[in-house]
Point group: C2
Chain length 411, copies 2
């Protein structure tokens, strides 16, 4: 994997660049489309490519449980089974293992405001666990995390080595070190302990990955896999800086920024980290985001992003527009014989009226999920691409101002 | 609409031909893909076209209830709203109105063997009505049928005139006269009464259609709509012949063959009808069918078909292969790293293993519906296309024999 910075944002940490992988180049900043179970929900890979996506991120936890990494490997690896020829990522599986477990026991629902980076999903899962009166599903030791499957309650164990072995079997271009993703309500002492454990796990992830790569790359057709280390440290400036310094000094190909932030402080928190991380390696902000998040994260030095929000909201009928979010069930859209957005170039807007898409959603037709997902992903992918272009053409500030001024509607 | 016979099957009623409509030509025999609610479930029109489908059939009953034919018309008509530029059909709405109603009161579940032509759907609906202790939902008079919506219980009335008005608003290329579709368990006396009513309704449908077409075709951009009359008569030879003679002598552009048949007698029953119908007009067998049905129906003179079975079975995990049907949940497919059928040219088989498609189905991923529907529709569309080619090349009997000998597996 090779990362090149093409242009920097004057006086800030932001930059436009490119990540070259064995399956093609990602022009950054870029939104990486989530395909949790080796499928972007409701879309064929052709549709994903057609809407402008450059890369897909799948989930190690889900693929490990079903169909199992051995079957993914026997089927020819992630790219081949899902028929996606472009770059791919997998996360480490840590987030999902923990999000069902002890660290998110009973306090998570007391959060006054769910965080944008995946905590809604986490909260939902924890609530479901609690409502069924089940015990906490994860137990953390120095060695790793013992967790129970959300599907059948079966016991499983992830260590840093195990996560790296699974990810090497799945075979994405870019994978992540195994980290402990703490609850946003955890106190500083716990955050510090977890961060230090994450640092030790990062070293173990790196060591195991090097062993596996040396072995794997003896085969003439094998493609190298890049490993990103994950920075943690919660909302604490000193911990974030310490984590970025420690992880940043290890021999990773790039970095992930994980855990919780206050939405309003996202730019500040990300800048603590990116000021410490080496400039010449790419930085992925895990589980972000919403349209307004990208500007702050990018100007503070993040290169790539992933988030389930665009597709999940699409399936729930929330559509992105440059004026803000709208909901498809609003009765005024029953006779709205124009595209969702008049100047949108996505497949959905080129071919269908909002009236028709709203009708499909109302009558529970499967095509509704496809058409709304295409629109929302196209919106987000092109928003981040537009931010990239604004960096290249020195118009970032103007673009940011004009987008955020327009993006206000909730309808 | 223009129908041309290209070649006849020697010594039989079957033929290959073409139906020219304002939205393109249908080479016959042809399977018309069902898009009940102006969408082929789980597929984009591009996917429908890519799998080889020539035309789509939508349902008047469903579109009338939601979004309403006025909204379909205001949106630009059926082709435009659903983004399908090829030929389209709508049925009359009669089947659905009756299938929820009095004519299918309490006796339908006593059928020892559900008929292939849609009665499974009907039976399921009737059972659901009964289990909720609701009164019969339809009441037939000479004027038409009063029915309650399966969605909200609201009262609605379809007369022949109303059905034709709705269908003209929806704007398909080929529409059907309003008929009474009787229960397969109805006695001969009732079948005769219903058939005679259907004949009177056919005349009224035709009269109203002519009025509307005269008015509509004054507009320079209007495209003519063809009207097919529907033959009924249950399983009785004399009634079927009488119905075919009566309907066949009216000024319809083509014909539908409706109602119930014993599956094993389908060829005989269809031949009664097609011997009477004028040779120079196309014949659509409504709600058929399964792979083995097409040979009998086609050699006995049917030109087009529609059926929900390929897509419904796909969503339930039943896949067609030349060896017979297989079920995707069979554990042996978990590691089946080859396409559903090695020599199938559909998008699914060109790009995915059965192991992956089975995994998507098992984990309830929406893409499973898309990929299985593409395969099953491709199978059926190409089977009927292959029968057409065998007529044109004088190899029908050989093709029929070889297909039916191979198509035996249930797995």
């Amino acid at each position: 994997m090779k990362f090149t910075i093409e242009k920097k944002l004057s006086g800030k940490l932001g930059r436009a660049g490119k990540i070259e992988t064995p399956h093609g180049t990602i022009n950054t900043p870029a939104f990486i489309v989530v395909g949790t179970k080796a499928t972007v929900k409701a879309l064929t890979p052709d549709q994903v490519k057609d809407l402008g996506a450059q890369a897909v991120l799948a989930n190690t936890y889900h693929l490990y449980l079903e169909p199992g990494e051995k079957i993914v490997k026997a089927g020819g690896g992630l790219h081949k089974i899902m028929n996606w020829s472009g770059p791919t990522f997998t996360d480490s599986g840590g987030f999902q293992a923990f999000s069902l477990g002890a660290a998110f026991g009973t306090t998570i629902s007391k959060l006054s405001k769910p965080q944008s980076n995946g905590f809604e999903e986490r909260e939902k899962m924890s609530e479901s666990v609690r409502s069924e009166g089940m015990p906490p599903l994860a137990k953390i030791t120095e060695d790793g995390v013992m967790f129970k499957s959300y599907r059948d309650g079966g016991e499983h164990f992830f260590s840093p080595e195990k996560s790296i072995e699974i990810q090497n079997s799945i075979g994405a271009d870019i994978i992540f070190a195994f980290d402990e993703c703490t609850s946003p309500t955890a106190d500083k002492q716990y955050q510090k302990e977890a961060m230090e454990r994450t640092h030790r796990w990062a070293a173990r992830s790196l060591a195991r990955h090097k062993e596996l790569q040396i072995e794997s790359l003896k085969s003439p057709n094998a493609k190298p896999i890049a490993l990103f280390g994950v920075v943690q440290g919660g909302r604490f400036e000193d911990l974030r800086k310490e984590s970025a310094h420690t992880i940043g000094s290890m021999d990773f190909d790039g970095f992930g920024i994980g855990g919780s932030f206050d939405k309003q402080d996202i730019g500040t928190a990300v800048s603590w980290v990116n000021e410490e991380l080496p400039e010449g390696k790419p930085r992925h902000l895990l589980g972000i985001g919403e349209p307004e998040d990208f500007f702050l994260a990018i100007e503070n030095g993040c290169d790539t992003f992933d988030c389930v929000a665009p597709t999940r909201q699409a399936r729930n009928g929330t559509l992105y527009t440059k004026a803000g979010k709208i909901h498809i069930d609003n009765t005024k859209y029953r006779e709205f014989f124009a595209p969702i957005e008049a100047d949108c170039t996505c497949y959905t807007c080129r071919n269908y009226t909002l009236a028709y898409v709203a009708y499909l959603a109302r009558t529970k037709e499967l095509l509704a999920h496809t058409l709304t997902s295409i629109h929302n992903l196209h919106f987000i992918v092109h928003l981040v691409e537009s931010i990239r272009q604004s960096i290249l053409s020195d118009t970032f500030e103007e673009f940011k101002k004009s987008f955020l001024e327009g993006y206000t509607k909730v309808d």
